[in-house]
Amino acid sequence: MTETTTVSPAQPLVVEEGEAQRGFIGTNVPRKEDKRLVQGQGVFFDDVKRHEMGFVHFVRSPYAHARIKHVDVSKALELDGVYGTLTGDEVAILTDPFFELSTPPGAHIKDYAIAVGSARHVGDPVAAVVARTRELARDASELVEVEYEPLPHVLDGEEALKDEVILHEDAGSNTVWSGVFDWGDFDAAVAEADHVVKIDRLHFDRFSSTPLECAGVLVEYNRGTGQWTLYGNHQMPGVGAIWMAPALRVGLDKLRFVSQDIGGGFGNKITLHPQFTACCLLARKLNRPVQWTEWRTDQHTANTHGNERTFLDVTVPVKADGTMLGFSVRAVDDCGAFPRYEPLGCIIWAQVTPGCYRWRNVRVDFTQVCTNKSPVAPNRGYSRMQHLWLTERIIDIVSQELGLDPVAVRKKNYVKHEEFPYETPNGCIYDSGDYARCLDVALELIGYDKIEERRVDAEARGKLLGFGIGSTLDSGTNNFGQSMILNPELQFSGNNEVATVKLDIFGEVVVTLGTVPQGQGHETTTAQVVADILGCTPDDVHVRAGHDSYWNSHAGFSGTYASQFAVTGLGAVKGAAEKLAVEMKQLAGAVFGGAPPEAIELAEGHARIKDNPEAALPFMALGAILNANNAGLPEDLDITLNVRYVYRPPFQKPDLERKYGNLTLTYATQVHACIVEIDPETGVYEIVDYAAVDDCGKRIHPQIVEGQVHGATAHGLGAATHEVFTYDADGNLLTPNFYDYHVPHALDMPPMRNGFIESESPFTPLGAKGMGEGGGAGIHAVCAALQDALGRRGEGPIVWRSCNPYHRVWDLLQSPQESRNFVTVESR
C-alpha cells in the first residue's frame, strides 16, 4: 500500500561545498550496525549477564496518592532465593534527594530513588526486592506488606493549580514553575488588527513514543574502588551522572555508564536516574551484581510520558489580508508527579516561539504543575511539538473562521526564504530554509491540484474528505543557557560533544564517540566523515559501538537527544579527524626526510607526497612507526596519533531579563500533508494519502534521514489517531500495555510519499542540521485534515485535542456546538 517517492529538487537551494565533501558524505553507504543486528548479535542491556546476579523487582503503589505508613519486607526476605530489599526509609538515609532544576516552589520538591513518605502516582516504587530469578523477585514483591493511608488526589492540570490537594508538601504548591514571556508589543498588535480570533481551549494529550525496549540496567559495584558500572540504556549519561552522583554522595567518576545497542529511546530514556540509583544502592548493599529489566506495564504506568499541555485564552490578531501579527496564550503544562527533567519544557518550546511564521508579537503565560500521574520526560519533539501544534491549530482555526485558504495563509505568514538567517521575536536565529518551497513539494506529492475532484468523489461515496497541512521545525543543538531563563542559579550554558580518533599500530583508524546511539546509525555516518577526511573508505574506519564513560570521550552534555548528532557528534568527529590528518602528515613529512606537512596528501589509505605519489606510506606504516618503531624521529615532533576533540557550538548566554537569545543552532523543516476520509455515520476515518517533506540541510546519509522521517511520521500518526494515556477517576492508567495503548502496526500506516530539499546550515561544520524528531508534524496534519472535513458542514466543530480516536470524532460530529463555543471572532 505504501508508495515511496523521493522528489529531488532540480537544484539544491543552497550550495556551499564543505571542506570535507570528497566522496562518502551524502551517499548511502551500508550501515555498519546492520550486520550484527540482523543476526541477533547486538548487545542490548538485558543481554549482559553476570555470575550470581540478582534480579530486581519494584513494589509499586496501587494508589494515586497515599501516605506510606509502614513497609514490612520480612516475609519477602524469608523466601528462599531472595537476596535482599530496599525501602524508602533506607533511601532517605543513604541518599540525598535528586537536585531540582526549578526555582521555588518546584525547587523544594524532594524526589528520591524510591518513594519516601508518600506515594504520588499509581506505580510509584515504594520498595525493591532482589532475588535469584525474575519470577522469584516478582513473587517476593507480593509478600512485601505496605500499609497505605489513601490521600485525595488530583489528575487534571487546571484542577491541580488550585492547590486543594498538594502533592509535595515541601513545595507547598503544585506549581513547579511559572513565568510570563512577552516579546514584541502584543497589545499594539491587537489594536492594529482587523480581526481578533479567540480560542478558549486547546488540549495536547498525553502520549509517549514507547521505545520497544523497556528501560533497564545491570549494575556492578566494585567494593575496592567504590565504583559502580552500569550496563544500561540511559540515553544521556552525562546528565544522568550529574543527577546520580550527588544523590549517592560520590564523585562523577564513580559512575561508569556502558551501553552498546539501545532499543530506541526517543527521549524516554533520559530520566532513568531514580531506578538506576536504586539499583546502585542494591548492588552495594547486597555485594552482588543486580539487574533490573522494566516490564512494559511498568514503563507505561510509571516511567515516562510526554508532556500534556492545555492552551487557554488563545488570542490571535489578524489583518484583513490574512497576515497574523502574533498570539497570546495561557499554557498549563502537566508534568505528572515529579518534574525530573522539568521544568526545562517550560522554555524548550521557546526555541520555536513563532513556529514557521513571521509573527513578531507573542505573549505566553506559562505554568507547569504536578498531578498524581506518571512523571514525564522529553519525548521526540519535546515541548516544541506541543507548541507547534498550537501554532498550526491557530493557522487552521483562524483560516476556517475567517474563510481563508490555509495554504495561502501559510504562505503569507511563513518566514520567507530570502529572510534567512531570520531572528525570531525572542532572539532565536533560524539558520536556513524555504518553507513555501517545502509546502509546494508536499502539495505536488499529494496531488493537491485534484483535491476538489477528490472531495466530490468522496462525497459520492458518503464520506467527508479533509485535507490538512502540518508545518514544523525540528530545532536542534540546544544552547543549555536557556535553562538559566528558568532559573538563573543554574550553571549550564552552551553545548558540547566529544570524539576521539586514533591511528593504531596496524594502521586501524579507531573512533570513539561521546554519544549514545539508539538506532540513528552513528557508526556509519561517523565512518563516512572520517573516511572523507583521511582519504580512506568507511570500511577502513572502526567506530566503537555504543558508549562507555571509561573511553574518556564524553563531556557534560554527551548523549543522544534533541536532534543534534549531525552537528555536535559529527562536528566532534570532523574536528578530531582533521587534527589526526595533520599529525599523520607531520609524521609522513618527518619520515620523508623533513617534507613539510603541506606537501603531503592523504589518499587511498596512504600518506604520500603530492608531487610524487610514488613516495607513499600506508596507514599501517604510520601507525607502526609512531607506536612501535619511533627511534630516530625528530624530538620536536609533538604528535600522538590519538586525538580528542570537543566540538562547542558558537553560543552566547541569553539575556535573562528579556528571556531573549539564540536557544538552538539549527532548524530543520518538515511540511506534511494529509488527506482523510471520515464516515460521518460512525466517526471512523482513514488517512488515505500522506506526504512528508523534510529539509535538514546537507544529508550525510540520505537513507538514514528518510528512515528518521518515516519513524517520526509514524509516531505523529499514532499520537494523532490512537495513542493516549488515559486515566480513570482513581488515577489508574487505562492504557498500561500494547493491548490498550495501540501503537501503529504495519496495516495502520497510510501510503506515504517522501520529498526533500536541502538548505544547508551556514552555522554547522558540515552544513547539516540535527533532525529526527519531526516536530510532531503528523499530529498537526491529521488535526488539520479532520478540521477541514468536519468544518465543511456549516457550523462545524473545532478539533481542539491532539489525539482524535474515532470516538472523539464521533463526539465532534454529534455535538459540534460544544467545541464551536470555544471560538469567537471580533471583527472591526
Binding site: M1, T2, T4, N28, P30, R31, D34, R36, L37, V38, Q39, G40, Q41, G42, V43, F44, D46, D47, K49, T133, R134, E135, S209, T210, P211, L212, E213, C214, D261, I262, G263, G264, F266, T293, W295, R296, Q518, G519, Q520, G521, Q703, I704, E706, G707, Q708, H710, G711, T713, A714, H715, N737, F738, Y739, V743, P744, H745, A746, L747, M749, M752
Partner: protein
C-alpha cells in the same frame, strides 16, 4: 499429589540439541534468552503484542513469550541466530540492510522471523500480504515503510 514444579526439556535449536531442567512456569522466551544464552530474540511487552520474541517452532511462527518452555519438549526451534549460514546472510537479512529496514535493531530479529515464515508460505506476497504477515510485530523506528520494501525485494530475489 505434589504439583510438578520443574521438568527436563529437550529441544533442538538451530540444529543444536539442548537438555535443561526448567521451572514449569518458565516462559519459552526466558528459557531461550536466559537458559540457552540465545539473546537475539527480544522482549518488548508483557502481553504478546510486540512480536520481538517471534521464533519458529516445528515450522510454525509463534511468539515465544506466549508459551512455556515445558511445552516445547521435543521440538525443533529456529531463532534469529540460525538464519545466516556462517557469515552468509540470507537474502532477507541482506535486504533489510540494503533497504534500511532497521534502525535500533530491537524488533528486527522478530520481524525477520515473521518475514521468513511469510516467505516460506508465499514466495511473492503483495504489499498487503506483507503487511498482514508482519502485523504482529511492532516497530517504533521505521514506520514499516522500508521493512515492507525489504521483504518485497527479498521475495523477488
Amino acid at each position: 499429589m505434589e504439583p510438578v514444579r520443574a521438568q527436563t526439556v529437550k529441544v533442538e535449536v538451530n540444529g543444536v540439541e539442548y537438555e535443561r531442567e526448567v521451572d514449569a512456569r518458565r516462559l519459552l522466551i526466558h528459557f531461550i534468552r536466559d537458559d540457552l544464552g540465545l539473546t537475539g530474540s527480544h522482549i518488548g511487552c508483557d502481553t504478546g503484542n510486540c512480536g520481538a520474541c517471534s521464533i519458529i517452532v516445528d515450522g510454525t511462527l509463534l511468539k515465544s513469550c506466549m508459551m512455556l518452555a515445558v511445552q516445547v519438549d521435543g521440538a525443533k526451534i529456529e531463532t534469529i541466530e540460525g538464519l545466516a549460514d556462517g557469515d552468509q546472510l540470507t537474502p532477507l537479512q541482506q535486504a533489510f540492510s540494503d533497504h534500511h529496514a532497521l534502525q535500533c535493531g530491537y524488533c528486527t530479529p522478530g520481524m525477520l522471523m515473521s518475514a521468513t515464515a511469510l516467505l516460506r508460505k508465499n514466495r511473492s506476497p503483495s504489499d498487503d500480504e506483507i503487511r498482514k504477515g508482519i502485523q504482529g510485530n511492532l516497530c517504533r523506528c521505521t514506520g514499516y515503510v522500508n521493512i515492507v520494501e525489504a521483504i518485497k525485494a527479498a521475495a523477488g530475489s
